[in-house]
């Protein structure tokens, strides 16, 4: 359509030229400017402005055809050239604006995607933190319950035996004369009742704690005999505890003979105190 228009104007110009004179420079420039604009982006981007330019060129062509190269024809051609240039420039501006808009939209899209990614990461991290907090709370609760059980166990034991808290753990001391007959390693019947209570308490204590049963004697008699006797007595207590519910892998037994006396071996009372079985409940290693 635009090409036809240009051709039409060119023909009119030729006829005009034949009728009167050669087209003025303004009109030649206007035709070139319009031709350039109509072949550029203006046809798609700014057709209204291009139409105005076409109308302006038409007016100039008519003036030239009717009156020849007059000042009025030149003015109209001058205006037509400017209108064509304006259509071209405005189309370029619109194209630039469209590009800007597209680039901005793409940037925004990228930013939105980045934001969504970051939010997702934060959400995942929050979930991890929540799970960690829950695990921590459960661990805390487990420890508190274990400590409570340990306190309760200590209180229960205190009623039936000597209980002391030492750096190696809770130490339950049972007199040897209560547990065994002199020189023997078989538990006495009344001792079994007492040990039964100890076993009940140990079963309720922290299952992660380890238990060491240590047998001791006084210094009377041969050392090898005392050593063997203390080992057998510790073993007897261990077996009793295991048969009464304390996990086998928690308990070990060792005989220490006259070592680590708690009283003077020169007196009868002191020796009686040294003949003992100690049950050491070691707190779980952290």
């Amino acid at each position: 359509m635009r090409t036809h228009t240009v051709t039409r104007f060119a023909l009119a110009a030729l006829l005009g030229a034949c009728a009167s004179s050669q087209a003025p420079k303004e009109l030649v420039d206007a035709r070139a400017a319009y031709s350039r604009a109509s072949h550029g982006p203006a046809a798609q981007v700014d057709p209204a402005e291009l139409h105005d330019a076409e109308s302006a060129l038409g007016a100039a062509e008519r003036a030239f055809a009717d009156h020849g190269d007059t000042p009025r024809t030149r003015d109209l051609a001058y205006v037509a050239q400017r209108r064509a240039e304006l259509a071209e420039v405005q189309a370029q501006g619109s194209e630039a604006a469209q590009k800007t808009q597209l680039t901005s939209a793409e940037m925004q899209k990228k930013r939105d995607a980045e934001l969504a990614r970051a939010r997702s990461q934060v959400h995942q991290q929050e979930q991890v933190i929540t799970l960690e907090e829950q695990a921590l709370a459960q661990e805390q609760q487990r420890r508190e319950e274990a400590e409570k059980r340990a306190r309760q166990a200590a209180a229960d034991l205190a009623a039936i035996a000597s209980v002391k808290q030492e750096t190696r753990g809770m130490v339950i001391t049972l007199s040897g004369s209560v547990l065994f007959a002199s020189g023997q390693s078989t538990l006495l019947p009344e001792a079994q009742v007492k040990l039964g209570q100890v076993a009940d308490t140990l079963v309720k204590s922290d299952p992660d704690s380890k238990i060491v049963v240590q047998g001791y004697t006084d210094t009377q008699g041969p050392a090898s005999f005392n050593q063997e006797l203390s080992q057998k007595r510790a073993q007897a207590v261990r077996e009793y505890l295991v048969t009464h519910g304390v996990a086998q892998d928690r308990v070990t037994a060792e005989g220490l003979g006259p070592a680590n006396p708690v009283a003077d071996n020169k007196t009868a009372e002191g020796r009686a105190n040294n003949r003992r079985v100690e049950i050491v409940v070691q707190p779980p290693s952290k």
Binding site: K25, P71, V89, G93, A97, T100, T103
Partner: protein
């Protein structure tokens, strides 16, 4: 044809046409002045190609006013058409220049963003 020659032609033609009865092109004068102000407000004077057309428009307006004062209203009317066309083009050039600047800025920004 340079601008000086064009001016001589315009004035010459005006003298030939003479001062036949023709309505004062007041409306076109107002429209041209408004177009000129629009181009100035858009910053046309700071953009080389726009600045040229702004100056042409100013000169044509000055010439048209002089022609109107001298009674050559028809010729003044034509010159005012030129003035408005130049002012409109100066405005379009200024706006397009801003669009290009903006486009360049956004493209640079897009290039630096990760």
């Amino acid at each position: 044809m340079d601008r000086q020659t064009a001016r001589v032609c315009v004035v010459g033609a005006a003298l030939i046409v003479g001062c036949a009865s023709y309505p004062k092109p007041t409306d076109r004068l107002i429209a041209s002045e408004a177009a000129l102000r629009g181009a100035q407000e858009a910053g046309a004077q700071g953009i080389p190609r726009a600045s040229l057309h702004l100056r042409l428009a100013q000169e044509e307006l000055g010439l048209a006013r002089q022609l109107m004062n001298d009674g050559y209203d028809e010729r003044a009317d034509s010159v005012l058409m030129r003035a408005k066309a130049d002012a409109d083009l100066a405005l379009a050039l200024a706006r397009t220049s801003h669009e290009w600047t903006e486009e360049k800025k956004v493209e640079e920004k897009a290039g630096t963003e990760p």
